[in-house]
């Protein structure tokens, strides 16, 4: 029997590993580009400036892609040295339109390669509109915690992340973080009363145990690619584990377009051979879609549109049932106690603290709004300096005094299905597949009120902590990177059942976020992994 997992992101590799452990033979089909090796693994972020032959090319790009032009409004761009993100000028770029610009990856490991590694789990409140409860996912979370390093504390927030079992010590805090956390602990009751905000150490999928060969060295290169292998990367861990299994076959250079069907069953896969440009079809016995909610939604929609069973028009198949993404809101702040302080050169680069904004909401939104607190450390500073309205010289001097005090709270606001939102397939002769996916997205009603409430309370909490909050920055649609809900759990052929199987096809299983019926605020990746394990465990094949 030929079972195919499509995609090698966090969902794909964990679904594949689960199927392998069930004793099944698995093929993984993947576009499968390979990311270049990270240079000089022993060097720290600032050390690279000393030791690289051409540090400007590494940090700014050979064509200065990461030198952010003035007036662009951008403060941070993925480093050019990390090639896992696909850009709109890539011939295989699968999307059309510019009102929702998603991030996309064709690299082994998918977007999971650039995961910020925040590992938090959903609870019953997050899942209140799902046909399943936390109990249905509990075993899968436990298995995920066995497979991944989880550097986390046990603290007051632990009860809101019931699926997280720490197996590593939390990452070290910077002096800024430590002062902020101490300040919070001293005034926790007041802050919670006035702002409903709780501050805690982050839960990070990273190896911190010093005796481990991949232990975090605090080199400050997380965003530039962890050279120690400490941050969880599906391509360098779980995929390798799958590849050691004799019944696993990895087939790169295959971009799946749609599925062949007969009598409500998948019988084959139509794919683009990315090396030759040829479009081919091969038979299969079951498919596990894990290409990411957007690509999986596109594959599913094309399949329905090619299926003779839907040709009579009794079901509207011009668009997927939905599409969701978290709205990213950034609230910058200056921590006044840290003004003029020295910043240690070597730190964990991603966030070391998280916030939970918890209160009963109007309109059915989840109680928990999850945020990440990132104090500034190793980054490219010129866009930040240019954003200070004083001219470069005085802005640079101001920045030097403030940089140990700067931080940002980033919230990922939850999302839910909205009528009219979804993916459609549009013809495009410039695309090697002959079409592209158009994303139709309108913000859910009540999101703005939720945003205002969260921002107001966070600003209040920051002031109570001795910080000066700045006006919030709301990222454009598509920037949340937590895409979900293109084939959500529910009724009808455009949706899936609670076990993650497509309603329209008995042997099509949705392992990624495509089947999520709502999108909670908490970081999605760890939950994707748990869901993929659950779907692959329950799949009746």
């Amino acid at each position: 029997m030929k079972y195919v997992v499509v995609g090698s992101g966090p969902s794909g590799v964990h679904a594949a590993l689960t199927l392998l452990r069930r004793g099944l033979a698995v093929e993984m089909w993947d576009t499968g580009r390979q990311e270049a090796a990270f240079p000089q693994p022993q060097a720290s972020f600032h050390g690279l400036k000393e030791t690289l032959d051409d540090p400007q090319a590494y940090f700014l790009g050979k064509r200065f892609e990461a030198l952010l032009p003035p007036g662009s409004g951008e403060l941070l761009r993925y480093p050019p040295a990390r090639s896992f993100l696909t850009r709109a000028d890539d011939p295989c770029w699968p999307f059309s339109g510019d009102d929702f610009t998603p991030f996309h990856s064709f690299t082994r490991g998918g977007l999971g390669v650039g995961w910020g590694a925040n590992a938090v789990s959903f609870d019953d409140d997050d899942l209140k509109d799902w046909p399943i409860a936390f109990g249905d996912l509990e075993q899968a979370y436990a298995e995920a915690c066995r497979r991944l390093p989880i550097a986390a504390p046990t603290d007051a927030l632990s009860r809101y992340f019931p699926g997280i079992t720490p197996n590593q010590a939390p990452v070290q805090l910077s002096p800024h973080d430590a002062a902020l956390l101490t300040g919070y602990e001293r005034r926790a009751a007041t802050i919670q009363r006035w702002s409903h905000l709780q501050l805690a150490r982050a839960r990070i999928a990273a190896v911190t145990a010093p005796e481990h060969p991949s232990a975090c060295r605090y080199c400050g290169r997380c965003l530039w690619g962890c050279p120690a292998g400490s941050l969880y990367d599906p391509a360098k861990t779980t995929l390798l584990e799958c590849q050691q299994h004799p019944r696993f076959t990895y087939l790169p250079n295959r971009m799946v377009l749609s599925l062949e069907t007969r009598d409500a069953r998948i019988t084959g896969i139509r794919y683009l051979q990315t090396e030759t440009g040829a479009i081919t079809t091969e038979p299969c016995d079951a498919v596990f879609l894990a290409a990411g909610a957007l690509q999986s939604g596109g594959i599913f929609l094309r399949t329905l549109q090619h299926d003779a069973a839907f040709a009579d028009g009794h079901v509207r198949i011009d668009q997927t049932a939905s599409v969701m993404d978290t709205t990213a809101v950034k609230i910058p702040y200056v921590f006044l106690r840290q003004v003029g302080a020295q910043q240690p050169d070597e730190q964990f680069q991603y966030n070391r603290l998280i916030v939970a904004h918890r209160k009963p909401r109007n309109g059915g939104w989840p109680t928990h709004c999850h945020g990440e607190v990132l104090s500034l450390n190793t980054l490219l500073y010129h866009p930040l300096i240019e954003s200070i309205p004083l001219g470069s010289r005085l802005a640079m001097q101001t920045f030097a005094r403030l940089h140990a005090a700067l931080g940002v709270v980033t919230y990922f606001l939850p999302d839910r299905q909205v009528d009219g939102n979804g993916l459609s397939v549009v013809e495009d002769r410039d695309s090697p597949t002959g079409d592209r996916l158009r994303i139709h997205y309108q913000e859910a009603a009540g999101k703005q009120a939720l945003l205002r409430e969260t921002v107001r309370d966070t600003r209040r909490a920051l002031m109570l902590l001795g910080c000066l909050p700045w006006p919030p920055q709301i990222a454009p649609a598509g920037s949340g990177i937590h895409y979900a809900g293109t084939i959500p759990m529910g009724e009808g052929p455009l949706r899936s059942d609670p076990s993650g199987r497509a309603n329209a096809y008995r042997n099509l299983f949705l392992c990624d976020g495509a089947s999520f019926p709502t999108l909670p605020s908490k970081s999605i990746t760890f939950n994707l992994i748990a869901n993929a394990i659950r779907v692959a465990t329950l799949a009746a094949i």
């Binding site: 590494y58 200065f64 952010l68 500073y381 240019e386 010289r393």
Partner: protein, 417 residues
């Protein structure tokens, strides 16, 4: 790359690029240590920016052309940040910070701050005072610049209107004045056809043009114009029809310092390039200009054509011959011919190019190639028949030319000693 040696010259687009000296001034203003290796990266980035960003116009262009000085940079820095967030000065200063922050010393310099926290807080008062000072004094300065632009900006607008969309051929386009003319024309919106001899300079320029994405606007032809017919073959080789050339700047020239009588081989070589090469190029283009009914020939002569000079006899004589030939050409074309083929003769004084030693008296009297290019193109745009500059040098030359020959020989002969 570290050290204080000046870097390899780079293609500098006016209004965008900065030369090494300007970069050094900007670094001193920012409190950073200039570095030739970082300058090279910075100049490369500005080439990319010039190719990808809209050409500044009007007052923005006027401000972009201001020479950097520490005080003036303070005004430009703050006011462009407040009023023109995408101005070339923003790109320049932002790029200096970006390339320096990737350098260990640059990064340390950028993050330098008082050792005590109290000192850090107190320094905000200094930053605030400096901001207020730049706002007030800079506001007055900016008002002055606006007035100057209102008065003098017309010549700038005329220059742009004249050359925008024109195809201009330049001989000797790989360095010095020729290169400065080429990049200024590019900034004015012209298409440039550069002609130069084969060599490392030509190859390096080709690379920089490709890097900046300017291949369609700056084409290079390889030719030794001292060889008869070479220009025709070179244009054919790169697919340029002489009929599509609107103007030509006959700039190619060589100078060989040999005391006369010396060998006539040197004299012959200098004349072949400076005189015959220029006239041969003109003869190639004039029929096409006449057929079309318009065209402009701009000959680069020299103020040196008015007198002899020890060691430069061959050069000065060649320029004298060229000036007289150009004058005669205008006469031969006749009244109607001059309306069809406009002729401008440029007689610059000393230009700071590879022909002049740095730090010498000549260097101090010289103008930069960029300044000379600006003067030449403004004269051409104004349709002037003759253009001599700089004023002081022109007056000195006129005085010398009026002196009795014996006195002139005595005076200039001392230069040899």
């Amino acid at each position: 790359m570290t050290g204080t040696q000046p870097p390899t010259p780079r293609l500098i687009i006016p209004g965008w690029g900065m030369n090494w000296e300007q970069y050094q001034t900007a670094c001193r203003y920012l409190g950073l240590h200039p570095d030739p290796g970082l300058y090279d990266q910075f100049a490369r980035y500005l080439l990319h920016a010039a190719a990808s960003q809209p050409v500044p116009t009007g007052f923005a262009r006027w401000l972009a052309a201001r020479q950097p000085g520490k005080l003036r940079l303070g005004f430009l820095d703050l006011w462009t940040r407040l009023l023109m967030p995408s101005h070339p000065w923003r790109f320049r200063l932002n790029a200096i910070l970006a390339v320096h922050e990737c350098d260990p010393r640059g990064c340390r310099e950028m993050l330098a701050q008082p050792t005590s926290r109290l000192g850090a807080w107190l320094s905000f008062f200094r930053i605030g005072s400096a901001t207020l000072l730049n706002l007030t004094l800079g506001g007055v300065w900016l008002g002055g610049q606006a007035c100057a632009y209102a008065i003098l900006g017309r010549a700038q607008q005329r220059e742009r209107a004249h050359f925008d969309g024109q195809t201009v051929l330049i001989t000797g386009a790989t360095r010095g004045l020729g290169l400065a003319l080429a990049v200024r024309l590019l900034a004015l919106g012209a298409q440039v056809v550069g002609v130069a001899r084969a060599g490392a300079g030509l190859d390096a320029l080709r690379c920089q043009i490709a890097e900046a994405g300017l291949q369609q606007r700056f084409r290079l032809a390889t030719a030794d114009i001292s060889l008869p017919g070479a220009i025709t073959a070179a244009l054919a080789e790169i697919g340029v029809d002489a009929a599509h050339i609107d103007a030509a700047i006959l700039n190619a020239g060589i100078k060989e310092e040999v005391a006369l009588p010396g060998t006539t081989r040197t004299l012959r070589r200098v004349f072949e390039v400076n005189v015959f090469g220029a006239m041969d190029t003109a003869a190639t283009l004039i029929p096409a200009f006449q057929t079309r009914g318009s065209g402009h020939l701009i000959f680069i002569s020299s103020l040196g054509r008015w007198h002899g000079m020890p060691g430069s006899g061959s050069y000065n004589a060649s320029k004298a011959a060229l000036s007289l030939l150009v004058e005669s050409l205008a006469m031969d074309l006749g009244e109607s011919g001059r309306k069809t083929v406009r002729i401008t003769s440029i007689e610059p004084g000393l230009i700071r190019t590879g022909m002049i030693m740095a730090g010498s008296l000549q260097d101090r009297l010289a103008v930069s190639a960029e300044e000379a290019a600006a003067r030449i193109l403004r004269c051409a745009a104004a349709n002037r028949r003759i253009c001599r500059f700089p004023l002081l040098f022109t007056l000195m030359t006129a005085t010398l030319a009026c002196l009795p020959q014996g006195m002139r020989i005595k005076l200039l002969g001392r230069i040899k000693d």
